[in-house]
Symmetry: D2
Subunit: 293 residues, 4 copies
């Protein structure tokens, strides 16, 4: 089939390649003319000639996605479909669906996982929307997903794709934190003399064998004690949104939230709250405090 | 080689079978005569005739292990080796090693992971002790471990095996909690209509693919909404010891500890601390409280 | 001065009384005619005749507050002032301020603490808005606040009052949780035979002496082991909003969030996430699970 | 009455003064001859001539306390009493009681709170032991405690005093963390222009009014944004022991433990676990990491 693809960055560029390998025609647009197949969204739409069009949006969440959806609402025709494959907040999806529906245009939201490994191994896809809209995009989903039985799911109605991807990332936060905590504790143990080999051994036969564990071993093979890194971990929107969604629903997420907060703390040069704790200790106990001077 | 194996329960029984499949001679003792090869520890020791003996202890941590070590200290000879493959606290290992060393007997501690799947796929093994002692047990380790390059590690000196296994279990706690939190949040979402299929799809191409995820899908295939279970999760010693070890070392373990505390809470019929919170709300705000009557 | 007061529930009714004791004229409106001084907002506005009017809104946050603000925007005149003393989310304040400013009407947001004790001891007040608007309401603030130097603050611009009150409540959550955790641990200790007397003794000379501790002692005097309560604690919007505000700002709030999640858990009949943990334990270890049958 | 007091540091020295003001005779021993009344424990014991002796030990927990108890066991006579007023772990108390009981000497453990303010306002005391032993020390407790009805409690049998004091400190950790988190969130809010005045206002009429809040205001009066401090907070044994006691009893302590872990993190130059999280992000996503070079 024919697909318009908007956004050819690290993710979009590789996805274009994998879809083409699947035998489909992809016309890609990007603000960067060096990677784009066409010069404008208008040109992209005009080149999609094989019947009702499908345009996949793969640009940053928020304003960039919103303005692309707005523009496509004006360029596309009734019966066409827009897929938002970016990292949009699930609460944006219904808004986009309604806006496009007013023009007779269908909407599917799709969470995409796979990072830099997706081109080779396939992308995990979680999508939401009406069955008829999803069916139209199915050939592209099939091209993108990993080989085998898994890796793609129609999770529910509009918004379900991004919601499921968001929860995936929330789980990922806590799994990464789990390995990180365990690693720090092993490194602190006197008796354990080869933490890297312990991690390596866990790759088979254990309850915790997983792709993240494999990656941890790779990282330790590169730098046994991670001496070349600083303990600073960024967070993306999905981790924050996961906790917000949980609060909305009254669902307790202690491990995922602890993982998010550990990243927040890591991002601070100095901790205001621990200044206050130090100040209080000083007030009541005359405990020594460390001054910044 | 020849091995004495003390304790033929769910774990020990299967391990005897796997070691025998590896071509070794195992003489097993258990208090239950129906599964035992010999009637007593004394008889077990007397049957090990091929030079310096190796006796693997696979009984419950604490008193049972202690009394077995005590008895073996009296029965074995200098140059023999005792392996503690049970779930002993790492702090017991040094004590056992010293006690046996006073008799000229070597000691190796070994954490074993694998559960009911170990007989078929092999057991992950983490062991600690002197290189010469470990070398003597190596053929047994090789028979027990999974095929391939991974699954067994000499983690460090005496105590390192149980310590590494304990940390493995701590990581396991947080990984299980991660999937559990994500599952609850998905089940609470209006838009997501098929949570089980979302979990199933994650088995390939995602960052969180793992054996625990596979098991979660198995569990959901048995009972899609886990309606037949109560939300009560037991905890074993390892989770608690992991947190205690972290406190000893001043290492923060927020996600693992959150996972342990979630289990504690699940084990309570009613929460004393939340009674106090309810009582305080009532005191200052005249908020309605739920009485138990 | 003259004040219009909309909402005469548990809080509003007592506040009317305290403002009147301060020598001011209060005309109160409530949907419940038994407590109202006037029959409608229109009548309330018409009775305020002493120059530019001040109307204090004390109704539930969300729709009720929004519709009251909307109606007042149509009834009041340029130069009048609306105070929102309810538990509105701080993000609503700027919206209300803009809407009223379009009519030349000023806006002040005010967080009010004090519960059922406020009539007697005074209400703690945190307000936000332009200095000139705040100055107009000051006599009412002075009547409501406790005697002495503390209890009222102009926290900043519009929204700052509700924000400060929200943070107050977040701190309150964690303080209540602190006492609740400590109480449960003492109740679980074999050696401590009189937990209530331990709490009572802490009321002087300790670092943790506080009004909440006094209330805890009151609660234990009513019911020494809180046997008549169930461990279920409701949560109000402020606790949730505090965590959301922190996430927006990248501020870690581990203790406050733990306190919120403890309440969430207490509100569940059974814990879905712990069902999943139990199911996973069963999958890999053949651990017994508690069935609901 | 007559009291022997061992340890005249910051705490012990002030306590000697307050007991003397209460009309009692105190003979104090310290390794530092400048503050001591006698040259040795032997001399101290010999100076206590008014019948059965009471010796209060106020030295660091662990080895110093153990060796003092050992020495006193040899110097004192049947019917004498030792009080351990230091910060001993509650698990040491039973051991000390048994050791002294073998010599016919009684034992009382006593947790003392009050810090640098105790001399003036009195010390909060929590003690454990047999009623007859406690009764013998009662005049000293009465002299040390604050005026009024509160501040001293016979918490239970031997060990209960230190246990109660330990829990007090655990609660203190979470209360300090609560104020610290709230303060950081207010400081991060755009709308709130005077955080210090918000804190000051809370000192009356609020649910969170407390001595720690008063101290926080003092600290902010000294340094409005705590700019002169580093965000590093030490932890003492009691916080760690509180969590360990909870783990022993299966009691969840999420807020107190979060407070302890926040201190652990604050003590680290760089966070090993966050290096691992950063490394994993880099592995799967090609996310930029901050190198230490």
């Amino acid at each position: 089939m024919e697909l318009g693809l908007v956004g050819l960055g690290k993710m979009g560029g590789n996805m274009r390649e994998r879809i083409r390998r699947g035998g489909h025609t992809v016309i890609g647009y990007d603000r960067n003319p060096e990677v784009a197949d066409v010069r404008s969204l208008e040109e992209l739409v005009s080149k999609l000639t094989g019947g009702p069009r499908v345009v996949w949006v793969m640009v940053p969440a928020g304003e960039a996605t919103q303005s692309t959806v707005d523009e496509l609402a004006g360029l596309l025709s009734p019966g066409d479909i827009v897929v938002d494959g970016g990292n949009s907040r699930w609460t944006d999806d219904e808004k986009h669906a309604e806006e496009l529906a007013a023009h007779g245009i269908g909407f599917v939201d799709c969470g995409v996982s796979g990072g830099v490994w997706g081109l080779e191994y396939g992308y995990a896809l979680m999508y939401g929307g009406d069955a008829e809209h999803v069916a139209r995009v199915q050939p592209v989903f099939d091209a993108l997903k990993p080989e085998g039985s898994f890796g793609a799911v129609h999770a529910g109605r509009v918004g379900a794709g991004h919601f499921a991807k968001m929860v995936h990332n929330g789980i990922e936060y806590a799994m990464m934190q789990a390995f990180a905590e365990g690693w720090e504790l092993l490194e602190a143990a006197d008796s354990v003399t080869d933490v890297r080999e312990v991690f390596r051994s866990w790759q088979e036969g254990t309850v915790i064998r997983s792709w993240l564990l494999d990656l941890a071993v790779n990282a330790l093979d590169d730098d046994e004690h991670l001496a070349g890194l600083r303990g600073v971990a960024a967070d993306s929107g999905e981790g924050r949104w996961t906790v917000e969604a949980a609060i909305d629903s009254g669902v307790p997420l202690p491990a995922i939230t602890a993982s998010l907060f550990a990243r927040f703390t890591s991002q601070q040069e100095d901790s205001p709250q621990m200044k206050m704790v130090a100040a209080l200790r000083n007030q009541f106990g005359g405990h020594a405090v460390e001054g910044s001077k």
